[in-house]
Symmetry: C2
Subunit: 229 residues, 2 copies
């Protein structure tokens, strides 16, 4: 192999923008680095791609190591390959985003050694990030702004049962603008992929909203047909 592929080899890494929705805020998971370069800086979770794993597998592994979660929908969105983007050598990085259900049970388990800690941070209040991670994040946010108009990724951020107001909230946070309540409901229900439950929100000190769930079956039937917000 080395004889036939003699040229320069590069390290290849994965960086992940992990989105979560919590208490009305859109957040991403950041780690505080424990190693040089950018020791003590905040950065996107990431790692080098291993010899025996595909880049997709590598992304899943990183997510799993960090959160204990598997089977999360991740999408690759861009590869950053500037020569000097890593101060210690040539590292080309493939960026993924994922949408995670936060809340309660799924505690984070930052097992990686390069991280002192991992923390969910509001995307509107991000600290200064190491490497070119601000840029990688910006592109990731742009990507999901487009994606959310065609794919039901918003529901991945929400608990299994959710209210329409919560859905609208997610859309507003990602798109960065207010939407009209009546028009939003009309539209999102018109796709026929939400199932109204006989259940109401609990523990609120005002009128409880009806809960809905995402109907994967109905969505599967739509497949190919594009949803459009």
């Amino acid at each position: 192999m080395k004889e036939v592929l003699p040229q320069f080899n590069s390290a290849v890494s994965i960086d992940c923008v992990l989105f979560g929705f919590d208490g009305g805020e859109l957040k991403i998971l950041l780690i505080e680095r424990n190693e040089e370069p950018f020791k003590d800086w905040w950065a996107l979770p990431g790692n080098l791609v291993g010899e025996d794993e595909s880049v997709d597998q590598s992304a899943s592994r990183i997510l799993h190591e960090l959160t204990g979660l598997s089977d999360v929908y991740m999408e690759q969105y861009y590869t950053f390959g500037e020569v000097n983007r890593h101060p210690q050598g040539r590292v080309i990085t493939v960026a993924y985003y994922a949408m995670l259900r936060l809340g309660g049970d799924k505690a984070l388990k930052p097992l990686t050694t390069y991280a002192k800690k991992a923390q969910w941070i509001n995307v509107r209040e991000l600290p200064k990030l190491g490497f070119d991670h601000q840029h990688i994040f910006d592109k990731g946010l742009e990507k999901i702004k487009r994606r959310i108009k065609h794919l039901p990724i918003a529901f991945e951020l929400l608990p299994e049962k959710f209210t329409l107001t919560q859905v609208q909230n997610v859309y507003e946070l990602i798109l960065g603008k207010k939407l009209d309540k009546r028009n939003f409901r009309k539209k999102i229900l018109s796709f026929g992929v939400l199932k109204e439950l006989d259940e109401k929100q609990k523990g609120v000190s005002f009128r409880a909203a009806t809960l809905y769930k995402f109907d994967k079956r109905k969505y599967a039937k739509l497949f190919g047909k594009e949803i459009s917000f």
Copy 2:
């Protein structure tokens, strides 16, 4: 550098889907390989990323080596990182597409040594391709189907002066379906980025169509606003 980035390194390559429009057909540039693996097979043009070039630069270089063209709009669209996609070792490849003006003056100059020849081939009649290049092509075509609805990439395929019928032709070939002539013209003119010339098509044995050109200035003013077909 090697001490701090000790892990497995991979070869990183670029593969390009170069689209061209010619005689009413949508084509891509393929090369016939001169080297193992897949010697004598058709494949997408591509090469390894060099130590001192970014992935974008590498893509431009490959395009330049193959066609002699510079300053062509290229967009990265996906990175293919399966472990065994290259029979001789681990090669992660970053795919780009480009839209090229064919016709006349710009002869191809296949300078690369790995190619016996390079040829424009109708996308509906592609030969069997080496590696996972069929898959890479499929994704590329999908990408431009989406892109053509929002970005004026269709004009990149056409000569400087073109008729509306030619534009419609490009759209129909890329989208893979017939469009209504009157509605198409209404819509494409409504963006205000085409400039009608005082000139007609020549050398046709029927009524000559009016020529138009793409108005970059007007398009620049639209920037941010999304065009939508």
